[in-house]
Amino acid sequence: MSSPALDLGAARQAARTRARVPRATGLQRLISPIVLLLLWQAASSSGLLPERLIAAPVKIAGTAVDLTADGTLPNAIGVSLQRVVEGFVIGAVAAVVLALAAGLSRVGENAIDPPMQMLRALPFYGLIPLFILWFGIGETPKVALVALGVAFPLYLNTYAGIRGVDGGLIEAGRTLRLGRTALIRHVILPGALPQTLVGLRQSLGVAWLALIVAEQVNADAGLGYMINDAREFMRTDVIVVGLVVYSALGLITDAVVRLIERRALAWRRAFQPA
């Protein structure tokens, strides 16, 4: 787990390294992916790469258009997105509530943190058989798996963030006669925010992964179902479309968190060389 300070150091380091290498223009950076795509297409067209292993890029693109046009893809995305959103909200709310309780009170810490620290070691994909026994094979086990995957990184980071708030600042808050509520609101929560956002980013990554795993096991709708169904008919083109959509969704959520970070941690940007 990275601390905000380390993160910052890494960011600074990255900014410096980046600055030293002459920046490639957007166009230059596109060259090698395009060449790779062309090679792939050539291999497919020449029969070197059979379609039962992987379809040609042009065919995949065509399939993506077809799946979008007939509503299959938007439908599948909708179903999967709903699972992630529901699981994320449940997991995130639980994580933040638990982290606040554990971070802000001794009693909460003793009651909540030990079991959480023990459970974090659990390989939670291994819980799928139990989840199926408990929740059947409907939406519940998938949402539950996402929620669980989200909850741990977010809890651990939020809790560590709260506990890591500079004691000097808390003392300063006390000398300003801030009450407990004001102290939490103005000092502790903002102080914990950088680490919490690290946790948010981790937990969103886990959320998509948990969804993919859950949808592979069993599903009658959604992206995972689309992919599994395609496998039975050896439709590698559909499988690749599904994978591309998964990664696009992952990238979009990551961009959203970055945006939140940029806005919420504007005070920290002062640190980083432009």
Partner: protein, 243 residues
Amino acid sequence: MATRLPTRVAPEHTARIRGLSRAFGDRTVLDRLDLDIERGEFVALLGRSGSGKSTLLRALAGLDRDTTGELAVDGTVAVAFQEPRLLPWKRVIDNVALGLPPGGRERARDALREVGLTARADAWPLTLSGGEAQRASLARALVREPGLLLLDEPFSALDALTRITMHRLVLDLWDHHARDTSVLLVTHDVDEALLLADRVLVLGEGRIAHESRIEAERPRRITDLTALRDRLLGELGVEEGTR
């Protein structure tokens, strides 16, 4: 825990301490210490490193619950620490206004003007220079119109030039506030104490081991105070001429 009873402070005093003790484990740092601070008085507290200056200041600030003895302060206490301790996620003006009743922003602006930081009111604290941050911290303490202003080596991290400016600023502010505010300045710098204070205390063996009044008019020149300077250095265990 030390009792805090404002009623027991005589009207001419801001703070009254009787028999204040503080131990960490079996190490006694403050040992039945007595101290009165007069209303509007500027007191400098000297002492070797580890003699308990910060411990005494923290007790006065109400940050230490594990002291024994009697401690009473009349009026609000405000603190400026050695590090400015500004909340990095609040702009300078919001740091100064933090904890003030509604309408505090106007007063915060006035306080920033007093310390010459109007131009940096909307800056993030991390973009301030060391001296600017220290002035912001001072504004944050002053805006509370404290009866007792505690300064724990707030200038020690500053360069010599900035330190001189800060000395002037503190004296000006103290003057400006009609000297209603008592100041307790912790410092390890004998010259700083001599230039600023009405009374200089030396902490040793857990008590006030020595005190001197300085009647000289301000602004003072250190060359006029060499006799006292040598005596204080002696109290601090520094041989004459070694400094």
